[in-house]
Amino acid sequence: MSFNRRLLALAFTTLLATVLTACATPNREGGATLASQGQTTADALRIESDGAASEFQKIQGQFVISTIMDLCDTRAAADCVRLARSKQMKATLSEGSAQVRPVVELLRLRSKVFAKLRSVYDAFAQEAAYDAKGELSKAVGEFAESAGSFAGAAASALGADPLSASALSAAKALAQFIAEAKANADQIERLRDDNAATLLALKALSAALKAEQKYEATARGMVMISSAELDVQLRRAGFGSYPARLNARLPAGDTIPESADADIRANPGLREGIDLDEELDSYDAFRIADQNYTATLGSIDALVSAHESYNAENAFDLAQFALVENELALAIGRWSDLKMKETAAHIAAKPENAEKPTKTHK
């Protein structure tokens, strides 16, 4: 078979491989979108968790102030001052401080997990942004060019014909095709593996946080109560209007207007989730905290769904690619053997290499 016909056969194999691996392009855009969603969610979770820990740190101080204000509201000023300054009061109020610190540290540990989650998505985003195919193709192309030049120089130094320009071009194109296809397949595999690893970790995180929901929600409920109690005391003492922070802790859509008492009693919708006595001393903080925390965990479940969708949408049959890759490797091997035989034949055919007749002596 002539060299040109062999080159045509090689081109056909290349075309066939291109068609078969047409879908083998890494979904970098999908990966980038997923990474961005993950980064936003992780940041929001960390900020919320940090906030809960910081607020919990304040509850003892708030309790002290609201207690003393309550005491003074029910006693004459002199008695209030005496009681507030007593050793018994100090001992009673300081007992709680020792309990607060370990809870704050445990809550902050959860924030660190969310910070680590953010770093996973940062790495995922970097992978999605990496032009694996482009970089490897460029590197291989430049090497192929260099290798071709070396082959020519070596052949010339040996006295053999250098490789033809068309052969060099075909070799370079083939090498780049292999590199691009391999880079794509490798990146698909990396994105798939990254996705799977992150998905597993997220599912474990979701399960772990759900297992401790009642404790986290209790802590957040205590924060709401402590803060609301202080607000009520301040209002009683005439320091301000209805506590705006109470509104901030209600489920979405519920608000407490300024003229709270009458409105709340008259409006069943506002009473749902909030049940205040005449003095507005407290409300259903723990239930609201549970609801809010459930919503927090919902954002993790949304990420899990996004990862599962990415997995389903980007399935790639590596076994099929391996078959094509094998065929191409065989084709390259056959081509290399043929070129080596041709080069050897060229060298042997050179006049200077032909066997010289022996001289006869007279």
């Binding site: 018994q88 009673t92 996973v120 990396r190 593996d193 990254d194 401790e212």
Partner: protein, 131 residues
């Protein structure tokens, strides 16, 4: 009296929450009703005990779940390392071809130099033989 409703948690946790909430809600009225310092401190002790019990349960609950959280932390670190290592290996491969190009460029230079040296060496001998 306020109504307490909670959506999650075991019975113990709910009981602790209820105790604390009731102690806080009743504080104002109970302090107003306290006829002596001792009675006033009893009201405050009641709230403090309820609060401390609740904080203790939070601490124990979170500590108990700490191994699960630590495992998640390690899983996330592994996922992070996997992502970064994979891409760095890809970058190394591209870099390797760059190094190979440098090597072949040098080899080309050497082959060319050898060829020139060989030609320079042959010419005088060929001239002598043909004269």
């Amino acid at each position: 009296m306020a109504k307490q409703t909670t959506s999650t948690g075991d019975e113990r946790q709910e009981e602790l929450r209820r105790n604390y909430l009731q102690a806080i809600e009743n504080r104002h009225g109970d302090l107003a009703d306290a006829k002596s310092d001792d009675e006033a401190f009893a009201v405050l002790d009641n709230i403090t005990k309820a609060g401390n019990a609740l904080m203790k349960s939070i601490k124990e609950g979170l500590e108990g779940n700490a191994p699960a959280i630590e495992t998640v932390f390690k899983d996330l670190k592994s996922a992070n390392d996997l992502v970064e290592t994979g891409r760095k290996n890809a970058e190394k491969l591209a870099s390797l071809f760059g190094k190979m190009k440098t090597a072949t460029d040098s080899a080309t230079g050497l082959a060319t130099a050898l060829e020139k040296a060989a030609k320079a060496g042959k010419t005088p001998k060929a001239a002598k033989t043909n004269s």
